[in-house]
Subunit: 476 residues, 2 copies
């Protein structure tokens, strides 16, 4: 039985074996108190070892990080903050943790230090809480789509197409690094490579998702995607997980409804199923905020920020309306935005957050962006200048979702691929879906780590994925 | 509303718009019958267009593959095989499908041909059924683990470690293919590569899964894995999805219990939630079997094979016992096995299937294999010759799961890594979990496509993943 379940039992001297890792041991008079955790919950169970119940020799091995099994009887707890504790009769030590060498001693460790020992950090309160929330959110994603008749589509990770245009790509190869086979003109001969051509890691499953939607109507992807950008920021990973629903017969408004309903469902699910972990993370965030300057502190607590999303209707306005609102704002007129504002720009995070946090005070969906700052596959508006794009903006984080209605007209799509320089033969299969039984359809992408970041209140994306991949870092 | 839901309605002349792709159109006297499918179910809905209800011009565009919306009233069906049909008032054509060019005309297509048009094959009955079953199985996986308090762990796809030893790897790089930077001794300088060292695509998430289990107790992975093996067989993919649970405090027997319970749950889930699709696939398989020679035909129908797993207790015997049974079999004595049988061999599929299908007539779990044919991380048995490995064998397919209790003793594990030639510094983090708070633990790997293959009754693994990656093939 796991500690989460044991903590909910009524104590009646039942005999139990409890296994886990020692968080702390405290010796007081003739009694030792052991806080044991098995990762099933943020809470520890207290083991009480009376004098003589366990040999000195064994008790000496019970140090922070050691793995043990405690056998005993479950009794009402005398201490505060817990209803039950284990009166320990015997202890089996599975694995020790030499206090001189074990890096996770019971004191505050910096997040930077913990990244260097990512193989051990899930044993801390903060990271076990994050990983449980991450699990709950992933399960919420699958639950939501399954309940709504979507089919999970595994789109390919290795792709021979470089048409997605969402960013720099990693090459995948089995050719020898030194002295690869060459063509007559001295270039590497990718015909000799594993797939008979140059291949890369996918930056998005959307194009293949659309193929699925043109047959199954409602599909979603949830898989790893990759960007080979040399960005050392708190918001970029070279490898991250993306969720991309795609729905036949959906137009832009349906797409907005789906995005709003979906994100609210996931966040409500986490609030409901991870109350203890979110309470812990909220307290952690409060402590962190206290170290910041007053003006940099968040006005909302973590749960307030989550309810800000679940309890508000998302404001829906066009990009053009948003630009006008920004231009007329005091902040702009007083020159307090760092970046300029004018029609045609790609909005910066400061603009997005101002709209959400200061102006509307609710999540915002911006639509109908200028076509020149959006991808080739987005459906052109009647004016020929804007496309049926949508970005969903959240407090603290800015853009969390990007999506659009897709161009379903073969000629217009072909024209756009030419304009942006994509070769027809590299996406003949994508174009063909507009040739045969084309349908209006729409979808969006949500970077899963962005969602986990938002729900956990963490500030560095490297702390919400188990083993982050970033420039010059691929340890573990 | 989707066709699956509409087909379950009581017809009462309700007004409906039904959207989907035309499977067939049949004109009889003054009436046209349109079979429409939207991928939500294997079943089509029939649209009945009386003379004059829709213009000739429009009706001409309603050909196989076209995407349309039919508006009309839902009435009891006159025809066989369906309870409702739509009396059509009007048709909107979203996208045509020129019968001269659209490859999916209503006739039998070979699976080989359909692989070449994998962007369109989800529009066939067979592939839409497979993809729905695949979705249901994936959802069953997440449901099972969530219900049993496992946490979903996203282990890294790009790995800097080559210690997994499960197979040939793909290199991941951003160095220029031609003229990459070189070190002084003329080799490619991977310090200049994106991650500052040579990196590959993962062949297994197990090692990182173990890190998670040593903190959260019960974790599972479900993600893509890669093998750069030049195998052009019906059972190998270069990119496939793998499920790997890992559980602290589990020993070999717990691991067997988990594997049996888990696979039964998934297959029962599919039988319950995909009855129509499995019935269709069973019929497809029967037709395929009829084209085979008598002795190559399967004795069991598809659902019989699935119930063979769900309704039998798995037989559990050691590798050594299995070898003895094989040696004493008539099949062996009459020289009818293609491959030799002796202690120490890696069992062939023919041996595994004989044990399952002929001898025990139930799924079999073989345990305690010779250490020399198993991975370095498996726990050594007391005899020093065998390890606590387990393989789960299914009818028709042989091995579907491979797993083990893991070596949790630091010194023994270190010894094994040296024996197999893994450098200590490349997996220092893995070894450290045995140094600090080590615990008994066990886990296994299930190739998801093997499971989908088994449940759909398909015979080529390229037909149970949307866009297969195999040697010289990375289209779409």
């Amino acid at each position: 039985m796991q500690i989460k379940e044991i903590l909910s039992l009524s104590p009646s001297n039942q005999s139990l074996v409890i296994k886990g890792w020692v968080r702390t041991k405290r010796v007081s008079a003739n009694v030792a108190f052991i806080a044991l955790n098995d990762g099933s919950t943020i809470h520890n169970i207290q083991g009480v070892v009376s004098d003589g119940a366990v040999s000195e020799e064994t008790l000496k091995l019970v140090t922070t990080g050691a793995c043990i099994a405690m056998t005993g009887t479950l009794i009402p707890s005398q201490g505060q903050g817990q209803s039950v504790e284990l009166q320990v009769n015997s202890i089996e030590v599975y694995g020790t943790a030499d206090p001189e060498k074990y890096p996770l001693q019971p004191k505050k460790h910096s997040l930077e230090f913990l990244r260097e020992i990512a193989h051990l950090r899930p044993r801390t309160n903060t990271f076990s809480a994050i990983l449980r929330v991450r699990h709950a959110l992933a399960y919420a994603v699958h639950t939501y789509f399954n309940q709504n008749q979507f089919f999970y589509l595994h789109t390919p990770i290795i792709t021979g197409s470089d048409a997605e245009g969402a960013g720099e790509m990693f090459r995948v190869t089995t050719l020898p690094a030194t002295n690869p086979p060459l063509t007559e003109d001295g270039k590497v001969d990718f015909k000799e490579d594993f797939f008979g051509k140059e291949t890369n890691l996918t930056v998005s499953g959307q194009l293949e998702g659309e193929l699925g939607a043109m047959a199954l109507s409602k599909v979603y992807t949830f898989g790893p995607t990759f960007r080979a950008e040399n960005s050392n920021t708190t918001r970029h990973l070279a490898e991250f997980w993306m969720i991309e629903p795609e729905v036949a017969f959906n137009e832009l408004e349906d797409n907005m409804n789906l995005a709003e309903d979906f994100t609210k469902f996931c966040i409500k699910y986490a609030l409901e199923h991870c109350a203890d972990d979110i309470a812990f993370l909220e307290k952690r965030l409060l402590d962190e905020e206290k170290t910041k300057k007053k003006e940099e502190q968040s006005e909302l607590s973590l749960t307030e920020k989550l309810r800000f999303v679940t309890e508000n209707d998302f404001e829906r306005i066009t990009y053009t309306e948003a630009i006008n609102i920004l231009l007329q704002s005091k902040t702009h007129k007083q020159g307090k935005f760092q970046y300029p504002v004018e029609w045609g720009i790609d909005l910066q995070s400061e603009h997005e957050r101002w709209l959400v946090e200061k102006h509307f005070k609710k999540p915002v969906i911006l639509t109908n962006y200028p076509k020149d700052i959006k991808a080739f596959y987005m459906k052109l508006d009647e004016d020929g200048k804007t496309v049926r794009a949508m970005d969903v903006l959240f407090p603290g984080i800015g853009e969390i979702i990007g999506g659009s209605q897709r161009e379903d007209d073969y000629e217009k799509l072909l024209q756009r691929t030419k304009e942006v320089g994509i070769e027809e033969e590299s996406i003949w299969w994508y174009l063909e879906t507009r040739k045969f039984g084309s349908a209006p359809h729409a979808g969006f992408g949500l970077g899963f780590e962005r969602l986990v970041l938002f729900v956990t209140g963490m500030s560095n994306i490297r702390d919400v994925i188990p083993f982050p991949r970033t420039p010059k870092t691929a340890e573990f």
